[in-house]
């Protein structure tokens, strides 16, 4: 990317959580937990502030950033800020604060062990995520992508038990294999084109790579993204990773990891290959149909799950495929929708997960069938849950609607009625698997038998839930509220397809 202004803010943003992570790892066992958490917040707030401070520049279309050093011969380690990265960065940095706050409540309320390692790895994940957001070229992106893979592993095996170990292995098997294939893809692509930097609309020309190779490279490169995003034949690590504590699930599913997968797909398809090349090699078609299949199948599976977290996990699998589908449709509207769905899904799903966690900490119940009437005990939590569920289903005036509407418009503009139908059907399916939870929770008949008293989760958990639920409502009504996220998404979508605003 050609930078118009030198700006070290992206670098500082990446550095902050890294320092926090190292500090926590080294000092964590020797200082009081309060100081340890203070380190997290000391990194999280300035980071969020710095991210927000760059929004005006991103909105003005300026390419700001800087080159740190030449990381391999001919390719620099470069950070820059563009609209798409900005969206993801805003989401991640905002939700880090929220999740940290929630983590404190959850971890203390639940009396978890290994908290030092948890906070350290968490901060490391954020380093990687921020690096992903601001990477200006494929190699920088890949480096942070792999760091994210490794940094998430301690979170998955957090409980250090048999099951955790097993899902940790599964997680590694999926992500490392796909990561290494991504690596191979990058190398081959680099050898053919000699370029690495992200360009809106892609830099691969249709003649650059002979045809069978082009598809092969495309598949190798999106492989990593769709594994992390949990697209269907490659999703099975995601439900397995549910053994981790709930804030981790929230992070995995809403903030960092799966979004990184979706973001990776976005970068590869729209910023490396570009719409033309992606269409030319038929890669986008394959991607779109995989996404469609995932949306439908995962929703059907989710209906059958009794464990709340598992149900939410399959919901995540489906929702992430919206983003993938939005990318694969290759139209400006769909791309905008896909980007905005990153925001939307983050707020909706994190609310749902945090609610599940709050329920678990307060009542130690995991299964939906045990939660009948829980609305009496935890009315605020369950109200938030309801709001988020409606948002996931894509009700108007909720955040999920804006993004889905955009994707549907994109599908219509590209003349893909089947995709439109899929999206509508899946919205109904989402209602089917989330509404029963709400309805059961507020079932009056059971109010007094199981949950006689009103007892919400502790405040550090409750406040984040309320904030995110409120966000998913407000952003639905006013998509540009506060951070101009919709504006950024639209900008990115237009830039990719070469349209001016």
């Amino acid at each position: 990317m050609i930078l118009t202004a030198l700006d070290y803010r992206p670098g500082i943003i990446v550095l902050l959580p890294l320092i926090a992570s190292c500090l926590i790892y080294v000092l964590g066992e020797h200082i009081l937990p309060n100081y340890r958490e203070a380190i997290t917040f000391a990194a999280a707030f300035p980071m969020a502030a710095l991210v927000y401070s760059m929004i005006p520049a991103a909105l003005a279309g300026k390419e700001i950033g800087f080159t740190l050093l030449e990381i391999v011969k001919g390719v620099p380690l470069q950070f820059s800020v563009d609209a798409a990265g900005m969206i993801f960065a805003c989401v991640a940095s905002t939700l880090w604060i929220v999740t940290s706050c929630y983590s404190i409540g959850y971890m203390r309320g639940h009396g978890e062990k290994n908290q030092t390692g948890y906070y350290s790895a968490f901060a490391m994940c954020l380093t990687a995520t921020m690096g992903l957001c601001f990477s200006a070229n494929l190699l920088t992106f890949f480096i942070f992508f792999e760091v994210l893979t490794v940094a998430t592993y301690p979170l998955v095996v957090h409980y250090r038990d048999e099951e955790g170990t097993r899902s940790g292995r599964k997680y590694l098997a999926y992500t490392l294999i796909s990561g290494q294939l991504f690596f191979a893809g990058i190398v081959i692509l680099y050898s053919f084109t000699g370029r690495m930097d992200f360009v809106p609309g892609g830099f691969v020309n249709t003649g650059d790579i002979p045809m069978p190779w082009m598809l092969a490279v495309f598949i190798l490169m999106i492989g990593a993204g769709i594994v992390k995003a949990g697209v269907m034949p490659l999703h099975s690590w995601l439900p397995a990773a549910m053994v981790a504590p709930t804030p981790v699930s929230a992070l995995l599913h809403a903030v960092a990891v799966v979004k990184a997968g979706a973001f990776c797909t976005l970068r590869v398809v729209l910023y490396v290959f570009g719409p033309e090349a992606a269409r030319f090699c038929h890669g986008s078609e394959i991607l779109a149909w995989m996404a469609v299949a995932t949306i439908l199948i995962s929703s059907l599976i989710a209906i059958r799950k009794d464990n709340l977290k598992a149900r939410l996990a399959f919901s995540t699998v489906g929702q992430l495929s919206y983003i993938i589908l939005g990318i694969a449709i290759l139209s400006p509207f769909a791309a905008t929708g896909a980007l905005y769905h990153i925001v939307a899904h983050a707020f909706m799903k994190i609310t749902l997960f945090m609610c599940a966690g709050a329920i678990f900490v307060t009542t130690h119940r995991k299964n939906i069938s045990e939660m009948i009437g829980i609305g009496r005990q935890m009315p605020v939590t369950m109200t938030c849950f309801t709001l988020a569920s409606l948002a996931v289903a894509g009700f108007p005036f909720f955040v999920g609607f804006t993004s889905k509407a955009n994707i549907i418009m994109g599908a219509i503009s590209m003349g893909q009625p089947f995709f439109v139908a899929t999206l509508i059907v899946s919205a109904l399916l989402a209602l089917t698997y989330l509404m029963p939870v709400v309805l059961l929770a507020f079932k009056r008949d059971f109010y007094n038998s199981q949950f006689p008293v009103k007892k919400e989760a502790n405040l550090p958990m409750l406040i984040p839930i309320m904030i995110t639920a409120a966000c998913s409502l407000i952003l639905g009504v006013m998509p540009n509220f506060g951070l101009h996220l919709y504006g950024l998404a639209a900008m990115a979508g237009n830039a990719i397809f070469g349209l001016s605003l």
């Binding site: 050093l69 391999v72 011969k73 480096i143 250090r160 940790g168 490392l176 290494q180 050898s191």
Partner: protein, 493 residues
């Protein structure tokens, strides 16, 4: 300062020769002198690299005779870098060995450090020399000291050492045979002169024959796949103090010598060059996969690391087999990186055995709570072995893959991918043991006194240095690659 290359080899030599005499004065005087000399060599080798970068290659001829008649040290940027690597590992492992000589008498302590210094000397000499027969002498010094250091490892050490001795002597004999054939067609022993002579004459069949002997000789010495039989037990049962040096550096130097023969003496004009490269490529690929597969089945960390060396040496020779400048630079970067990874992992294993007296992976459960830095090194080293950025292992793999892509040998890229995945299988097993597996009841062999929480400072310095080197070599790899490319441009394909 014109005698710089000579000083680098003379310092360890003199200290080694006098170490035994000095040990008679005080038990540890010899060892301290050896340590000082190695540090001196390290400093001088850094100076040498700076001078080579500034003024071009150094040709130092002993005795002051003209070039094909005297023995020459020719130092270009590549071997200057490798010499630094060897000296650094020598210093670190010498420091590390301080902790493992407690119950020897003066003779044993002095003798062990004599061997240590001479091993470093042999490797440095092998790297810098420009004379094929001088290389043989250094090769033998390296081997003999290695036999001895391995034999000092105990009852299984002697058997491993004896087997290595047999195989190593076969290798030396093959080397001599190869040199003999080359000598018979050129009449010279100087490498640059030999290269010139070989270009003039039509000696392709002689060269091919010699190359076959040389590949098997260096293959045995560097434990390339079909010739690796001696290596796992030798690395496993070597003396704990010397293991990092043996495992970290000893395999790399014959690899460099092989590079010297392939690219500096034979060169791309050699008629069968492609075939030779193909053979090396095939055996490297087999080795990369075989070593990883065998390493998976091991329960002893020393064995895991030893078999992984079989695989990792394959990376280096794969770089030679690809042959483009980037791939060669990648191979050398891997050589440097792997020295610190493997050396570092053996430092970590040694630290654990110092503290708990065990090498069994099953005893490593959550060792990170007691030994955070050692666990950190195990993690960083393991990630580097797998090739996760920003460690050096990733970047060397990157250059190898880029080189393979440049020459359109895409198979090699997928082999690299496969190999790093196989590495991941057993290295994540190690990480899992260190961080996840339940705590075992381990009794520290040494009481945790004041100030000593993890291990003594002489163990911690190598451990921390290795972590830093793995990361720094990774992040600033372009500087290293630039330095290497100065000399590689002329010889690569």
């Amino acid at each position: 300062m014109k005698n710089l290359p000579a000083y680098i080899v003379l310092l360890p030599l003199c200290s080694a020769l006098l170490s035994l005499a000095l040990s008679k004065i005080h038990k540890h005087l010899g060892r301290d002198v050896v340590f000082g000399a190695l540090v001196g060599s390290l400093v001088l080798s850094v100076v040498q690299l700076v001078r080579v970068i500034q003024n071009g290659p150094i040709h130092y001829i002993f005795g002051g005779y003209k070039i094909p008649y005297g023995i020459e040290f020719s130092v270009d940027t590549i071997n200057a870098v490798i010499v630094i690597m060897v000296c650094m590992l020598g210093v670190l492992s010498c420091m590390f060995a301080f902790n493992f000589d407690k119950n020897g008498d003066a003779l044993q302590v002095g003798g062990a450090y004599t061997m240590h210094a001479l091993l470093v000397l042999g490797m440095v000499g092998m790297t810098m020399t420009g004379d094929v027969f001088n290389l043989y002498v250094f090769l033998e010094i390296t081997s003999l000291t290695a036999y001895c250091l391995i034999a000092m490892g105990g009852s299984r050490g002697i058997v491993s050492a004896f087997r290595y001795l047999l195989v190593g002597t076969v290798a030396a004999t093959f080397y001599l045979l190869g040199v003999g054939i080359l000598y018979s067609v050129t009449g010279t022993l100087n490498m640059s002169d030999m290269a010139a002579c070989l270009k003039q004459g039509n000696n392709d069949s002689a060269m091919l024959m010699a190359m076959m002997f040389l590949i098997s000789a260096f293959g045995i010495k560097m434990a390339l796949f079909p010739f690796h039989g001696w290596q796992p037990s030798a690395y496993t049962h070597a003396h704990t103090g010397a293991r990092p040096l043996i495992a970290g550096a000893m395999g790399k130097i014959p690899a460099y010598a092989m590079f010297r023969y392939l690219y500096c003496i034979y060169g791309k004009d050699f008629k069968y060059f492609r075939y030779v490269l193909l053979i090396i490529g095939v055996i490297s690929v087999c080795g990369m996969i075989y070593g990883s597969v065998r390493a998976m089945a091991q329960k002893d960390i020393r064995k895991v690391l030893a078999y992984s060396s079989v695989a990792q040496i394959g990376y280096i020779s794969l770089g030679f087999a690809i042959g483009s400048p980037l791939a060669l630079a990648g191979a050398f970067l891997h050589m440097l990186g792997h020295a610190f990874m493997k050396g570092g992992l053996f430092f970590a294993a040694g630290a654990i055995s110092w503290k708990y007296g065990t090498f069994d992976l099953n005893d490593f459960g959550r060792i990170y709570k007691r030994m955070p830095f050692t666990a950190g090194l195990l993690t960083v080293g393991a990630l580097s072995m797998i090739g996760i950025p920003p460690t050096v292992g990733f970047f060397s793999k990157w250059y190898l893959a880029c080189g393979a892509a440049q020459t359109h040998e895409y198979v090699y890229i997928f082999v690299l991918v496969l190999s790093s995945l196989l590495n991941a299988v057993y290295f994540f097993k190690v990480i899992e043991k260190v961080f996840v597996q339940a705590d075992k009841n381990r009794k520290p062999l040494h009481p945790e006194g004041k100030g000593v929480t993890e291990a003594p400072i002489t163990i911690m310095i190598p451990v921390v240095t290795c972590i830093l080197m793995i990361l720094l070599l990774g992040v600033f790899n372009v500087k290293v690659i630039d330095i290497l490319l100065i000399s590689l441009k002329g010889v690569a394909l």
